[in-house]
Symmetry: C2
Subunit: 260 residues, 2 copies
């Protein structure tokens, strides 16, 4: 009997030429048939944007040799939609992996993340999906230490599936922190970005702004969060959902008398 | 004793010249001091995108007369961050309202919505926030029937506050459906967009795509969803959260043995 390899869709938000997606493609090629549909340029901070009011352009890319690869002018979420509904129409995608993001996507950053929007789009479409990110913003970040875990986590999901409507947010500690201690299942840390805008003047005297700032952890003492895991050199895994309903708040709104 | 009017920040995703924001500004001006920071062009489908890799430009706008208004080259989430951390720095924003969106943001659409990303950004920043949307995609949509409810819902939130980490997703039925029956607190309908891409060739023979498709309701029989409310001519209110952790899935991952 011939065993069919699982079909694995790979995307990211840093663009098809980034270092992280290359590592991910190499590791996924060991366990499945890989199909790549990734943005043709960086899409960091793209959140769950989709291209509704303009056209999307796709080009076959030769950069991964025999791995069928396409570069797309759209967002990470567009890439998933196009692959699923147009390019791989009629085929079952067994796994979607997104990343490896060049930079951390823990805590509140998940909501701004193009990497995770692709994974969550997968969950919406009923595809088991994982977003991988690395805690390293250095331009020459080292992704090598993530390799043994990529296949391990992907194989776990291929074998066990995921709770319906859920995608995994996987973050790797910085390589400089030394040997990884293990993997922890966590919840999203409650935190936010304290923005500080750098206000400048253009050559015509008009003001413009660069977004900057620093992250604030609202619960630095908590032991079950993704940031705790990462600070203690564990890989963090947060199961993420796309149902945004705050069920706990339904009652207080109704009792408060907002209905009529 | 002089009563201070509440400070209300108004934004949207259809851009500062759209019909919906004008109605919202007019109604909010009746109950508070209004400050407008809205995109200078349409940002539909922008999700929770932020501008991290380029500059943001702001210009004072005269279009709302005495209401202090700015148009911003950034996304809806950028508008909230800039208003809070730069333009209104040091002042307490009592309420953030976003919209009125030209089109429905019920069910899964909340995740792609620029209107709701602004409201959720408000929740992240600790500002009570509401996103308003109208079930009408017609270019000349009529927003008039929403007027009496805008102040009513805003006043409810100003008086009662909202559960921490929560923003309201308010959708209005189409004006053509006749008199609104009332307001219902709901959960987000489980549904998705079944994409159908329209594939075309450009004048050079290269392929390009338009995203299209139709919405699929996975639970048309459910009575407690936002789509049920809207179909039955009620205004739907869904409390939305930014914590994406699927708490119910934590256990099955741990028991499945993904940790090490």
């Amino acid at each position: 009997m011939k065993m069919t390899k699982p079909l694995i869709l790979v995307t990211n938000d840093d663009g098809i030429t980034s270092k992280g997606i290359k590592v991910l493609i190499e590791e996924m090629s060991k366990i499945g048939e890989v199909y790549v549909m990734a943005p043709d340029s960086p899409n960091s901070g793209m959140g769950h944007a989709i291209t509704v009011d303009s056209t999307i352009h796709i080009k076959k890319s030769p950069i991964f040799g025999e791995v069928e690869s396409f570069e797309c002018s759209g967002t990470p979420a567009d890439c998933v939609k196009l692959a699923k509904h147009e390019f791989l129409k009629g085929r079952k995608i067994d796994l979607l992996v997104s990343g490896i993001n060049h930079g951390l996507n823990s805590s509140i950053s998940v909501i701004y993340s193009g990497t995770m929007s692709a994974a969550i789009e997968g969950a919406i479409e009923g595809i088991p999906a994982i977003g991988f990110s690395l805690d390293d913003f250095h331009y020459d970040a080292d992704f090598e230490h993530t390799r043994p875990y990529l296949g391990q986590i992907a194989n776990f999901v291929l074998k066990n599936g995921l709770t319906k409507g859920t995608a995994l947010n996987v973050n790797f500690p910085n390589q400089k922190k030394g040997e990884i201690k293990g993997i922890k299942v966590c919840r999203q840390t409650n935190g936010y970005w304290q923005e500080e805008f750098d206000s400048r003047k253009d050559p015509h005297g008009r003001p413009y702004y660069w977004m900057g700032g620093y992250f604030v952890n609202r619960e630095p003492e908590a032991l079950d969060t993704d940031l705790w895991a990462l600070e203690n050199n564990y890989i963090s895994i947060v199961p993420c959902q796309y149902d945004l309903t705050n069920y706990a708040a339904l009652d207080s709104l109704t009792k408060g008398g907002i209905e009529s």
